[in-house]
C-alpha cells in the first residue's frame, strides 16, 4: 500500500499510510493545513495547490491543459505546481512527498 507525505507551509509533515483516493481527499481526511479543496475536486478553485519535487515529477505526471489554465492565474504558481485533486494515489507513488503551496 502507498504512503504519502504532505509538508505544510509551516514545515509540518503529515504522513499518511495506506493512502487511497485523490491527494486532495487524502489531505482533507487527514486535516492537512492549507488544503481546503473547496470545490470538491473539479479543478475550479485551486485550494489544493501543491508543489511536486523534481524526483517525483515523472511518476506523478504533468497537469493537463484545464488544470494548467486554473493554475496559471494562481499567484504562487511555479513550474512544479499541481492541483492535488487531479492526482490519484497509486502504488507507484508510494513514498511521495509534496509541499503544500501558500494560500492565495
Amino acid at each position: 500500500m502507498a504512503k504519502v507525505t504532505f509538508i505544510t507551509t509551516e514545515g509540518e509533515k503529515v504522513v499518511v499510510e495506506d493512502a487511497v483516493g485523490s491527494l486532495m481527499e487524502i489531505a482533507q481526511y487527514n486535516d492537512v493545513e492549507g488544503i481546503t479543496g473547496d470545490c470538491g475536486g473539479v479543478c475550479s478553485c485551486s485550494t489544493c495547490h501543491v508543489y511536486v519535487p523534481q524526483e517525483w515529477q515523472e511518476k506523478v505526471g504533468p497537469a493537463d491543459d484545464l488544470e494548467k489554465d486554473t493554475l496559471e492565474f494562481n499567484e504562487h504558481h511555479k513550474p512544479n505546481s499541481r492541483l492535488c485533486c487531479q492526482i490519484e494515489m497509486a502504488d507507484e507513488l508510494d513514498g511521495l512527498e509534496v509541499n503544500v503551496a501558500p494560500s492565495e
Binding site: 473539479v42 479543478c43 478553485c45 489554465d69 486554473t70 492565474f73
Partner: protein, 383 residues
Amino acid sequence: MSDPVNPHDDPFREARAKCPVLAAEFQGETIPMILRLKDVRKAAKDHKTYSSDAPIRVPIPSEEDVRTVRQYPLEVDPPVHADYRKVVEPFFLRPKQPEVLEKIHALIDRLLTAACEAEEIDIVKDFAIPLQSHALTYLLNVDEKEAELWISWGIHVFKDGDGQSKGPFMEKYCQEMFEAAEKNPGDDFFSALNQAEFQGRKLTMEERLGYANIAFAGGRDTIIHTVTRIIKYFSDNPKGLECLRENPKMINTAAEEFFRLFIPLTHIGRVCPVKTEVHGHEVEPGGRVSLCWSSANRDPEVFEEPNEVRLDRKPNPHIAFGFGIHNCLGQHHARAIMRGVIERLAQGVSQIEVTEERELIEHESEYSRKVGYEMLRAKFTAK
C-alpha cells in the same frame, strides 16, 4: 442527460463564438461584456485595469436606486481589500463546521418532509426562500426567529416581484440590529462587526451597513434560484436522482455542475480607471466592463458539450463563484446547502412532479437570460 432546450439558457452562444466581447447597453451606458472563460479570469485577476473601487457600480445595472452604502469587501481594491475581507471571513467559514452543517441538513430534512406531506408546494416560496433565510441565521449566528422577517423580503431584496425594492427596509433593519447588538452584544455577526478592529480603528456605521448589505442581498436570489433549478432538474430527470442515490460520491461533482450551469448572477462589473482597450472596444476612464461569468461557464473551448448537464463532470473549472480576490465569500455556504439538498433529495424523495411554472427571465438590451423561477409548483413523493 441533456439540458432542457431553452433559448434563454445560453443567450451569449453566438456572440461568444464570433467575438470575445459583446457591447451591451445598460442604463444608457455601453459596457463591453467579456464572454470567454480565459479572458474573464484574466480580467478578474487584474484589479489595476479592472477596478472594484466603485461604490454602487460593481453590479450591472448599478444600484443607486436601491441602496445607499458601498458593499464591503466587494467594492474595494487591494491592498485595503484583504483587511476588509478578513473582518467577516470567519462567519462565512462557519458552514464548514460540522455542527453548522448538521443544522443545515436538519433544516433541509424539515422542509422536505413538509413538502412531501403537503399536496403541493411552490418550491420558490415554500422551500427555497425559507431554506435560504433560515440557513443565513446559522451563518450569521443570529436567532433563527429573524428568518421570518427575511422571508418576507422575497426572492430578491432589491427587485422582487411586487415592484417595490426592500432595500430601504433592509438598511433600516440592519441599522437597528447593529444598535441592538451594541446594547446586548453576543457572538453574532452584528456584534462582531461592532467590535471589529479594522486597521487600528472601529468600523463606521456606514461600513458595517455595507457589510450587512451584501450579506443579505448577495447570497439571496442566487441561493434561491439555484436550489429551485436543481429541484426542477431532478423533476425533469428522475434518473439523475437515482444515479446519485447509487453513487453518493457524485454529489460534489453534481453540485459543481449545477453551479456552472444555473449561475443566477449573469455578470458583474469592473471600472476602468484609465482609458482601456478591451478586445477592440474602447472604455473611457470611469467606464465599465462586465465579467460575464454565465457566458464563461458555457465556453466550448473549455467545457465539452457545455450545455449538457454531466453530473460527473470533472474537471469542471467553472467560475460560478467568481475568480481571484473577490471570489464569493458565501461559496462555502452555497456548497453546503446545494450538496445537502442533492443528498437529501436522493435519499428521501422518489418523484417530483411540476404542475405549474413561471420562469424568471432577465431582459436586457442585447440578451434575455433565464435566471430562475418566480414560481414553481410541484408535488413531492417521499421515498
